[in-house]
């Protein structure tokens, strides 16, 4: 893995490589994604795209309450607090590459803007990206340019919204039931209340 790291540093610059938990992460610019991926496939021999997914960094590092709360006790407050925005751009696309030939792995990350969540498709480089990109589009609303078939994949036909975004409520937005009078299925706003049983806490 050290060899790979050195080669990557030479190719992409030291600032873009993170080595943590025994794994390498390469951060690339959105506009360079095709160029970098082609290089990774052809010169670094990453022949397999194992995984591709979206990440939403909206509430990263925010806990439900302050871990060092005062003596006045905890409330059931669920207001997120105490997080400085550590990410400039809201979304990221993470690619997990594997080289069957060389037996090593690499994670590539590209940060995408919220205002324009667009990135070039890599289906031309690894065919496996097809459904993964559809999934990332479905769950996060990240648009993959030049993808030939960018339809929703996991959610229902006619679904509205992107469920894995952090501002999408856990309970969903609509519920469905069969209406006897209309003789068809109807969608209504959810009737249940959001509930957090265990608050999110960040401790050192």
């Amino acid at each position: 893995m050290q060899d790979l790291k050195e080669q990557l540093i030479e190719e992409f610059g030291e600032g873009n490589i993170i080595d943590a938990f025994g794994e390498l992460t390469l951060t690339v610019d959105v506009s360079d994604i095709i160029k970098s991926c082609l290089k990774l496939r052809d010169t670094f021999l990453f022949d397999t795209l194992v995984d591709l997914c979206g990440v939403d960094y909206l509430t990263y590092g925010q806990s439900d309450w302050d871990a060092n709360a005062s003596s006045s006790g905890f409330g059931r407050g669920r207001e997120a607090c105490g997080g400085e925005d550590r990410h400039e751009k809201r979304f990221a696309v993470a690619y997990h590459l594997l080289s069957v030939n060389k037996n090593y792995r690499l994670r590539v990350k590209a940060f995408v803007d919220e205002a324009q969540p667009m990135i070039e498709t890599v289906t031309g480089i690894w065919a496996a990206a097809d459904w993964y990109e559809r999934e990332a589009f479905d769950l996060f609303g990240i648009l993959f340019e030049n993808h030939t078939d960018l339809r929703r994949i996991l959610t229902d036909y006619g679904f509205v919204g992107h469920p894995l975004r952090k501002d999408f409520p856990m309970i969903g937005e609509v519920e469905m039931r069969y209406d006897e009078e209309l003789g068809r299925v109807v969608y209504e706003p959810v009737s249940i209340e959001p509930n957090v049983n265990v608050p999110k806490v960040i401790r050192e």
Binding site: T48, V50, D51, S63, W126, W131, I153, P163, I202
Partner: protein, 417 residues
Amino acid sequence: MAEIRNYTLNFGPQHPAAHGVLRLILEIDGEVIERADPHIGLLHRGTEKLVESKPYNQSIGYMDRLDYVSMMCNEHAYVRAIETMLALEVPERAQYIRVMFDEITRILNHLMWLGTHGLDVGAMSIFLYAFREREKLIDCYEAVSGSRMHATYYRPGGVYRDLPEKMPQYLKNDFRKPKELEAMNKNRQGSLLDFIDDFVKEFPKNIKQYDDLLTDNRIWKQRLVNIGIVSASRAKQLGFTGPMLRGSGVAWDLRKNQPYAVYDKLEFDIPVGATGDSYDRYLVRMEEMRQSNRIIKQCVDWLRENPGSVMSNDKKVAPPKRTEMKDDMESLIHHFKLFTEGYCLPEGEVYCAIEHPKGEFGIYLISDGANKPYRVKIRAPGFVHLAAMDEMAKGHMLSDVVTIIGTQDIVFGEIDR
């Protein structure tokens, strides 16, 4: 001359050969598939979203419900991701127990696959034989975890408890004659390890039976040989892993190439196919069952010799013993903290993959330092395999689609998540 038009056929989601809730839109010309468009997501439960809202330990149960025919393997990937981030040492005995149950799970999965694949293609009896052995292995699950399917047995730091000293036996009732009962309980007189040992001894004979039923069966071969051929380079390009990749002749197995747990201390072989058709994948999976059997035997022998702890001593992660809690305040506090708030992982991200019976099952875990994961992405092997359905089915007959669904070993729990 009559006008010839392509048909569009809706296959599923309620179809016994669709292995759950697969909806396929097939464009067919006569009986030849022009295009296959799988519609998935009918079993989508939002596991990834749910996991984000719970402390780490409370999500192990969700992992069982992903690929619901290989439960413990899913758990293994998840707990290993947590252990990697915590840099947690897992006792060797727990590692061996995990490997043993991973291989039991592999046999469970392959037996399920064999039975249903046979059923789809038209071989009825294999299903009954496969489920006969499955029953015994599910009993092992039950003996060790209390649950026949959704075990929640692996925990960060080890496994929930040590192997039971006594294998549960069948009870007397009005419908069982004493002789029958005695025969049923014959291999259940000792511990769980004795029971597994007995299974390991018998299993090669059972595989031989499946072999006799199918391998040289003319109809079986007519239905499988040269169906859904994928070349090695194409398989890599499509992201195939596991038996789907090995069937195409690539000797890639995470247990060998990137060993985890104690696989590097065990002896086993990796079978590979030659042509990459459905029949090769069938042979690969059959051989994998034999190899799993070998691994289980080695684990049983090791576990007999080496008693010890099965859970890490780290009190921040592993719950204290019940008895300790009665008179030790520290333990009580640890227990309370662990089961209310849970524990926090360091900030960072990790991708942890294991060799699941279906391929590479990975957990991509992002932590922002909290007691809940910030994001969990589940890399399900079936997802990529099903994505290649169009390519594999093109040019084949309608009935071959069923063979291809079977050979991909599809389970919707993991694909739809």
